[in-house]
């Protein structure tokens, strides 16, 4: 059992003791600093103390069987210390773990097929824990997206725990502050199956981390979308760990006008016999200032598996552009169309205006 206040205090002192992060990238399993993408001229306005937590900050709409409680009322809940970031020495990660202002615990009871929409009403660091009971198959939509980013700095931590046989569908539309760190952690219990779709359009500087742990017989299908606007920097890491026989299919897509980093990590542990993993990264670079780094990695300790990954980075083909323009579209319209095609799997889940809004105007 975790005492929330104590946990926050401990984490806060750890947070305060750490130096400010410089931009870093993992290459070949080791952290290196990259001159070209170092965001040294951007002073990340990190808070000097954790904000005081409250019970507000979310608007909930839903039907079916579910319970929503403010995180503050969940003192002593075992989920609170979380798996992710516990042993982290990254300032932003610790902030997301314990330095939130708004906290919510969404509990989906076993067998429930509830439909819940959670929206962040105040742009401030938040944490959302979702527990999906056995054999429940809820659809959960989380929105913390704001197209005009008024707030300077924000973090978000979303945790999904799917118990045995659960089948959650989770859609996350995010990006609310100019400098943002967002994390998604998922633990999928035996024979569970999750559909996760995320789209983050961050402001000037965004770091996004997704980590999934798969137990025996579980499977996940994830589409992770990102939009990095001109003069912005976005770094997305998505990692899947197969602990025993499980299946993952991760599709990362990004439209990059500024500087984007996409890192997909697949790890298959010894004994995860029969696991299947497929991870694809696709970065469409738009405009002369676009820069991209892709780094899909595989770390395999079990022979009886099928693991593959692929990545592609490039611009819109001149043939495609030419074809569209020969149908009367100007360059901006043509680019918008192609982007629509890139984000097509997201458009069936999120409002087009949110996904493409920036792109059509920007």
């Amino acid at each position: 059992m975790t005492d929330l206040e104590e946990f926050r205090r401990e984490t806060e002192s750890k947070y305060l003791a750490l130096p400010l992060p410089k931009w870093k990238q993992e290459v070949g399993g080791k952290i290196v600093y990259r001159e070209e993408l170092k965001y040294s001229d951007y002073a990340i306005p990190l808070p000097s103390a954790f904000p005081k937590p409250d019970t507000a900050g979310f608007a909930l709409v839903g039907k079916g069987d579910y319970v929503a409680r403010p995180l503050l009322e969940c003192q002593g809940d075992p989920w609170l210390s979380g798996e992710l970031f516990r042993s982290s020495d990254d300032k932003l990660e610790l902030l997301a773990l314990a330095g939130w202002k708004h906290g919510l615990f969404l509990d989906i009871p076993p067998g429930s097929s509830a439909f819940v929409k959670v929206e962040l009403t105040e742009a401030a660091p938040f944490r959302l824990i979702i527990r999906v009971g056995q054999k429940a198959s809820p659809e959960i939509k989380v929105r913390y997206f704001q197209s005009g980013k008024s707030v300077g700095f924000g973090t978000s931590l979303l945790q999904l725990y799917g118990e045995e046989g659960s089948r959650p569908t989770l859609n996350v539309l995010g990006g609310y502050s100019r400098v943002e760190f967002s994390a998604l952690e998922g633990r999928l219990g035996p024979n569970s199956s999750a559909r996760i779709t995320t789209f983050i359009s961050s402001g000037d500087y965004g770091r996004h981390v997704g980590r999934l742990w798969l137990d025996a017989g579980s499977e996940v299908k994830a589409v992770v979308g990102e939009y990095v606007s001109k003069n912005s920097f976005g770094d997305s890491l998505f990692s899947v760990s197969h602990r025993s026989a499980s299946t993952s299919d991760v599709d990362m897509r990004a439209a990059v006008l500024g500087k984007g980093v996409l890192r997909g990590v697949t790890k298959i542990e010894r004994g995860a016999v029969g696991s299947k993993a497929n991870l694809q990264e696709r970065v469409l670079m738009v405009g002369s200032e676009a820069k991209a780094v892709t780094s899909p990695s595989l770390d395999i300790y079990e022979k009886d598996v099928q693991a593959k990954h692929g990545s592609w980075a490039g611009r819109i083909g001149s043939n495609e552009l030419f074809y569209l323009r020969s149908r009367g579209l100007n360059e901006e319209q043509a680019v918008a169309l192609v982007l629509r095609g890139l984000f097509e799997p997201l458009l069936s889940v999120f409002p087009a205006a949110d996904v493409l809004g920036d792109t059509i105007d920007g």
């Binding site: 970065v283 820069k291 780094s295 595989l298 022979k303 099928q306 990954h309 692929g310 990545s311 490039g314």
Partner: protein, 448 residues
Amino acid sequence: MSKIFQEVRGLNEGVVRQLSNEKGEPEWMLKKRLYSLSVFESKPLPTWGPDLSGLDLNDLAYYVKPPAQTTHDINGLPENLRKTFDALGIPEAERDFLAGNGAMYQSEVIYERMKDQLMKQGVLFMSTDEAVKEHPELLQKYFMTRCVPPTYHKFAALNGAVWSGGTFLYVPRGVKVQMPVQVFFLFDHPSMGQFEHTVIVAEEGASVEYIEGCSAPEYLKGGLHAGVMEIFVGKGARVRVTTIQNWSKNVYNLVTKRAIVEEEGKMEWVEASLGSKVTMLYPASVLSGRGARAEHLYVSLASEGQVLDTGAKITHAAPNTSAYVVSKSICKGNGRATYRGLVRVNPGAKGSVSSVKCDSLLLDSASSTATFPAEEVYDEDSDVSHEASAGKIAEEQLFYLMSRGFSREEAAALVVRGFMEPVTKKIPLEYAVEFNRIVDLEMKGAVG
């Protein structure tokens, strides 16, 4: 036979000076060695790759003079060497197939023969030591200047300090060398370090193929091979380097290979890695001129106790450059093969195209593999892709071949051969035959 200079263990300025003095080198080379030594001492061991803790750099002999003098005739070779050549299946000296043949035994080239044709064409083929004396102005232009400077990394610096032997191959403008040039390296002395330094220059429009075979047939106590290869591919020139590495399984094989490719030039690396305890091999191609191309083909077999860490480092530094990488690795026992690559497209390198494909086949439950590629694309006018896969031999492929009468073992060996084929088809026939034979041997009993 005189032995002037016995082995000396450990490395310090004194050893380097003695080495240079023994070789009768000019001042500029000694200076370079000493500078390299200081760089070596200032850099830490890399920790981002395989475990190098078993490597004791102080317990190595950095120079051993062999008992025989350099000869130009195979009959002048010492008996045990000739036996080794036979065991390696090295072709008869009179084979027309080969244009030239040099061999390194320990730290000096002792067997060389240049065909008249090469000499007439103006091609220079000699040991690097000889080149220092006979073509200093040429060597000074290329040796550890812009291709592999001592600062490149710790083991390049080490090589710069204690290098000995290696090939200097210079192909003048427009000369196309028809027959491949071959060299063999043998490791035969316990606790020895092998630090050959090869420089290959192909001037504008030239073309040459260079084949290197490495072997250490006897038991060694943790030897280190830290060779360096610097390649300059001129405008419209073509160079292919094929290396068949079969060091004994307690050698640390930490090599540096880099090529600078100019406008419309083409560099081809073909690497077959079978031996060594730990290999760190990342051939690099710098595509510095418009239209330059690079092709990297790797095949490795990591058996019990081996860690083979390989990758391609490609820099697109000019427009319309292209790179193609295929890496096939097989792991058995608790062997581990890792692909660690970097493709970088610099701003302004418009129209760059790069594709990397790495596949791993795991044969045993203790086998493991990883790929850590990175693509850094700093110009949007490019097309950079990467694909990788890992897994075991598909049961259905085994079943299919068994239903044609092959035993399970034979079927597995066939599938493995097919798996490596995109790379092995580029290896010259006799080496490919030998390579396949070694793989088949390793494969026996490999598939349960």
